[in-house]
Symmetry: C2
Subunit: 435 residues, 2 copies
Amino acid sequence: MKPRWVLLPAALLVLLGVEPLWALPASTGNPEVARFLFVLAIMLLAGKLSGEMFERLGQPAVVGELIAGVILGGSMLGIIPVAPDDSLTEIIKLFAEIGVLILLFEIGLETDLKQMFRVGRGASSVALVGVTLPFALGALFWLSPFVPPEMNVASRFTTAIYIGATLTATSVGITARVLTDLRVMSSLEAKLIIGAAVIDDVIGLVLLGIVATLATGAAVSMLDVGWAFLLSVGFLVVAIAVGFAAAPRLFGLIDRMRVRGVLLVAAFAFALLIAAFADRVGSAMIIGAFAGGIILSRTNQFDTIESQIKPVADVFTPIFFLSIGAQFDVGLLNPFNPDNYQVLAIGGALFVIAVVGKLAAGWAVPWRKYNRPAVGIGMIPRGEVGLIFANIGLTAGVLTEDLFGAIILMVIGTTLLAPPLLKWSFNRWKAADPP
Amino acid sequence: MKPRWVLLPAALLVLLGVEPLWALPASTGNPEVARFLFVLAIMLLAGKLSGEMFERLGQPAVVGELIAGVILGGSMLGIIPVAPDDSLTEIIKLFAEIGVLILLFEIGLETDLKQMFRVGRGASSVALVGVTLPFALGALFWLSPFVPPEMNVASRFTTAIYIGATLTATSVGITARVLTDLRVMSSLEAKLIIGAAVIDDVIGLVLLGIVATLATGAAVSMLDVGWAFLLSVGFLVVAIAVGFAAAPRLFGLIDRMRVRGVLLVAAFAFALLIAAFADRVGSAMIIGAFAGGIILSRTNQFDTIESQIKPVADVFTPIFFLSIGAQFDVGLLNPFNPDNYQVLAIGGALFVIAVVGKLAAGWAVPWRKYNRPAVGIGMIPRGEVGLIFANIGLTAGVLTEDLFGAIILMVIGTTLLAPPLLKWSFNRWKAADPP
C-alpha cells in the first residue's frame, strides 16, 4: 500500500507541467483571475503534500509547508508571486494575513484564560528575558569590531538598535502551529510559550513603533514608549472585558437567526473586525484576532464556531506559511558565490544570537518544575514579526540589501530549526501537566 | 422574543458608526489590510442581517444580500470599493469570483448527472429559445426608430448585436441560490433551469467572443463561431469523462493522507484548478467549477467534501452577491433628474425584453407536464455574465456610459424580480417530481 502514495508527488509534477498552458492566448475571462486560482491551488496542494511527507517522516507538517513555500517561491520555481510590481503579490499577502488571523483566532478559541492567568507571571518572565537578551546581544554584536562599518547606511547606533529589535519577537503563529501538530497544546509549557509569545509581540510592536521613528531620524521620548505600551496592553484588556460582557448575549441572538451559516459568518466577521480595530488603535492585528478567539470561547455557541471555522482555516492558514517560505532567496546559500560569505556570516551570527537569547528564556521561571528546554526552544521561531521589521528597515533605508538578506536568513533559520527541536525536547523530557 | 432581534440592525449601525476610527493616524501595520478586513466583515454581517430580514419576510435571502450590496455600494454608503483606482476593488472582485466558483462547485456536487441527461433535451430547448428570443428582440429593438441615433458610438448594427448578446445569458449563480433557498433544487423544474442556464452560459461565452471581436472592428467567420462552441462543449465533456475515470482513485489516495484538512483542501484546490483550466481553454471558469463539482460527486469522499466546503462557501459566496448589488448606481433612479429619463426608458425596454424573452422559454418543452411559468421565471436573472458583457462593451467603446447604465439597470432589475416571482410561481402551481 505504502509505495502508492508516491503517486501524489507525481500528480503534482503533472500539475506543474501544465503551466505551459499559460502560454495559450488569453481567453475571454480575466487572465489574472485564472492565474490567481492556479497559484492558490498549487500552493494549497504543494503545502498539504509536503506537510504529509514531513508528518510521515515524524516532523511537524508546518515545516513541510515552509519548505514547499521556499520551492514555489521567487528564488526557485517562481510560482508564488513575491515581486512588488506583480498584481497578485498583494492579494496572496492578504490571503496569508487572513490565514494567520484565523490561526490566532483558533488559538484564542482554545485558550482557557484562567489557566493563562495562572501562568501569567511565568509567561511574563519568559517574555522579558526572551526580549531583553536577544535585543542586548544583537545590538552589542553590531557595535562590536567584527562588523564591517560599510554595512551601516544609517548611523551605527540606529542600525544596532534596529538589529536588536528584529531579534525580539517570537512568531506566535509558527510556535502555536507546531505545538498543535505535536498535540501538546494543553501542556504547561505550551501555555508559557503562547503567553510569552503574545506578550513579546506586544513589546515587539512597541519597539517597532520606536524603531520606525528612529529610522526617520526623529527623537523618541520615554513618554511615547509608555503610551505605545499602554495602548497595546489596554486594547487587549478592554477588548476582552467588553467582549466577555457582550458576546454571549450577542451570539445567543445570532444563534436564533435562520439564514444558512450565520453563526460562522458572524464569528469570522467578528474576528476580522476586532483585528482591524486592534490595528487601528495601535495594537497588532494578530493580537486582536487572538482576543476575538478568547472572547468567543465564552459563548454557548463555542463548539459550533470551533468546528465550522476549521475548514475556513484549512483553506487560508497554509497560505501564510508558504508565503513566509517564498520570501527566502535560496541563492544566498550558494557556496560558490563569494558575495554570499559576508551575508552568511552575519546571518549566522544573528541566528546564533536569536537561538541562544530565546533558549535562555526557558530558564526564566524559577517557581516550578517544567520542561525548560522546550519552553526556550518554543520561543525561537521569529516568522512574521521579524519579516515585518526587516521589510520596514529596508524601505526606510536603515538596512542594506545584504543585511536584509542576513535577517531573512535568521528568520527562516529559526523557523525551520524550532519544529524538529521542539519535537525532540518534548520526547526527551516530557511535558508538565497544565497548571 | 421577536422584537429582540431588531437589536441586530442597531448593532450594525454601531459598527458602521465606528468608521470614523479610520480617521485615526495609520498604525504600525498596513492600513490597507485593516481596511480590507473591515470591508469584508461589514459585507458579511450586512449580507447575513439583510438576508435574515428577507427570509423572515418570506423572500429568498439572496435578495437581501443583493440589496445590502446596493446600500453598501459605491452610490450609497461607499463601503464596498468599486472604483477601478481603489486597490481593494480588485481584491473584493477576486473574493466574489471565488465565491461564485464555490457556489457552482457546490451545485455541481449536488447534481445527479443521470437526471441531468434525462432532462437534457428539454433543457436544450429551454436554452435555445431563451437565447434566441431575447437576442432577436433586443437587436430588433435597437434597430427600431425608437432608439435615438446618438446612443450609438460604434455602428448601429454592431451595437444592436451587442445589446442582443447582453440579454442572452441567465445567471446560474443567482437562480441556483434562489432554488436552494426555496428548497426545490431536486424538482424537475430546477433541473431544467440549471441545465438550460449552463447551456446558455456556454452559448453566451461563444457570443461574448464574437461580440468582443466585433467590437474591435474585425470580421468574424462562421468557422470561429463553430470552433469557440466546440471548445466550450468539448471542455465540459472531456473534463467530466476524465474526471469520472481518475477522481475516485485520486481522492481515495488523498483520503488516506493524515494531515489536517487534506480532503477539503484537495477538493477546493481541484475546483480552483479546473476553473482556471476552463478559462484557459476558452470556456468559462464557472462552467469549470460546476464540472469539478459533478466529478467529485462520484467520489466516495463526497459527503465529507460537501459538508466541509459549506463553511468555506458561507464565507466567500455572499461577497459575490453583495458585489453585484454594489455595482448599481442608485442615482439612476432619481426621478428629479431629467437626464435619467432616457436611461430609464431604455433600461425599462431592455428589462421588458429580458423578462418576456426568457419567460417564453418556459414553454419550450412540449413533452411533459411541469410548471412552465416557474421555468421561464427561473431563467430571468442575468447577473454576472450580463455584467461582464456590459463591462467589456464599455471598455471597448461600443457602449456609452448611459447605455451601460441602462444595461446594469436591466441586470439588477431581472435579478431582483426573479426570486420573489419564482417563489410565488412555485407556491401557485407546485413543482413536478424529478424525472
